[in-house]
């Protein structure tokens, strides 16, 4: 499972943020995106996830291989932890949620409604969703927000297992997950030169 990005230009609100982004993620590799706030980390991840079109460039990856975890966890407050997870498992056609609950240390909370979880517990549930999708390429947007040290370490080991099984991870994060093998890509060098905005207004200057 390889993710290859070449000459990617992506924009937010019609204004190009990043251009010429290129990298290749072979199976088992992880890449951490770095850069100041607003430099386009989220935009890049959403573009690769297919949620918004790129202005130019190509994204090569097998179909239905990507799963995306954004700032919001996609949890339903009135459903229990197990129900939330079972829903995503059913949508992706994967069997069983026990392994994912176990891996993210949620087994004891399985019957609790999501609205009664703490912020860190919600985040763990959101990350457990990655496991039940059964997809090899993880796109993670600040996965460690509101996690405590122990949980960060827990997710670090989950991610390492995922990589060891041939998965890949592309994440925007400021916190070291303890993934020593992960490469770092600094997005500041891909910042789009100040120029006319693309899209709707491009034709009018």
């Amino acid at each position: 499972m390889e993710l290859a990005v070449s000459d990617l230009t992506c924009a937010r609100g019609g204004v190009p943020l990043l251009e010429g982004v290129r990298f290749t993620l072979p199976a088992g590799a992880a890449l951490v995106l770095r850069g100041p706030n607003g430099c386009g980390k989220t935009t890049l991840l959403r573009t690769i996830a297919g949620l918004q079109p790129q202005l130019s460039g190509t994204i090569d990856c097998p179909p239905d291989a990507i799963t995306y975890a954004g700032h919001a966890d996609g949890l339903k407050a009135v459903l229990t932890v197990a129900e939330n997870l079972a829903f995503w498992a059913a949508i992706h056609g994967t069997p069983g949620i026990d392994a994912a609950l176990e891996a993210m240390n949620l087994t004891d909370l399985a019957a609790r409604q999501a609205q009664h979880l703490s912020a860190g517990q919600k985040r763990r549930l959101g990350l457990a969703r990655l496991l039940v999708t059964g997809r090899p390429i993880w796109l993670l947007d600040e996965p460690t927000v509101s996690l405590d040290t122990a949980s960060v370490a827990l997710f670090g080991s989950v991610a390492r297992t995922h990589l060891a099984r041939g998965g890949t991870a592309l994440m925007a994060s400021h916190i070291d997950l303890g993934l020593n093998e992960a490469r770092v890509l600094d997005l500041t060098s891909y910042r789009a030169a100040p120029r006319l905005p693309q899209g709707f207004d491009e034709a009018f200057a």
Partner: protein, 246 residues
């Protein structure tokens, strides 16, 4: 953009240049036709033997109704052009046409009411033609409301274009539903080709002039409106450029 094709004018710069040259002529011709046609129609035609002088409101009513419907058709075509070929001028032209069409719908409804009062003894009847026109006005309102509610220009253009396509289908359905719902008082189409109720040339000639005038008026307002939209976009683009350079 291929050379020599019609699509060249989808380029905003070329559009601005051409429309700037054409607009005064269109506007002048529109004014001449509207004023001349209305004067001819109001003062130089004989009274109808049954309807008296009230019939003369036809010179406002029919052209306004014509433009009201065709403005929507033009918006439909422009929306399709935007969705398929992504020409920005098309999206902006659709946006500029909507208020003109809506006002023409109101003129059509209002003159209809003024005409209907002496003819049918009431300002408003739920006649299928009137109802269909009122429904058309509601569709214009929704379209305009959606344009003004969305901040991002490209998103707004996409969503309003989709609404225009779906709205067209439902507007046509509504028209047939309205005709099914009530058979009306409204006379048949004024220029229908069926024999018997044909209009005399004394009326037809000024009516044609008025219809041409209103169509030209629509064209002039459309060009002016589109030019305003393009200028608004351009100033926004310049502001973004300045902000990014700073």
């Amino acid at each position: 953009m291929s050379n020599g094709s019609l699509w060249e004018y989808a380029n905003p710069v070329k559009f601005m240049r051409l429309s700037g040259q054409v607009l005064p002529w269109v506007a002048g011709l529109a004014a001449a036709c509207v004023v001349g046609g209305l004067f001819w129609g109001f003062f130089l035609t004989p009274d109808d033997f049954r309807q008296g002088s009230t019939v003369k409101i036809i010179f406002l009513h029919v052209p306004a109704a014509l433009v009201a419907i065709n403005a929507w058709v033009m918006m439909l075509v422009a929306s399709l052009v935007w969705l398929i070929r992504r020409h920005h001028v098309a999206a902006l032209a659709a946006k500029a046409a909507a208020p003109v069409g809506a006002v023409m719908t109101v003129i059509g409804l209002f003159t209809g009411a003024v005409w209907g009062q002496p003819m049918w003894g009431t300002w408003w009847v739920w006649d299928p033609r009137l109802t269909a026109f009122l429904i058309l006005f509601l569709f214009y309102l929704g379209y305009i409301a959606l344009w003004s509610a969305i901040e991002d220009a490209e998103t707004a253009a996409d969503l309003t274009a989709v609404l225009c396509l779906v709205g067209t289908v439902f507007a046509v359905l509504s028209r047939y539903a309205a005709f099914f719902w009530s058979q009306g008082l409204h006379q048949g189409a004024s220029l229908s080709l069926q024999p018997g109720t044909r209009m005399d040339w004394a009326y037809k000639a000024p009516l044609y002039v008025c219809m041409a005038g209103f169509t030209l008026l629509f064209l002039a307002l459309l060009l002016a409106g589109t030019r305003t939209e393009i200028r608004a976009r351009r100033s926004r683009a310049l502001m973004i450029r300045e902000r990014m350079a700073a």
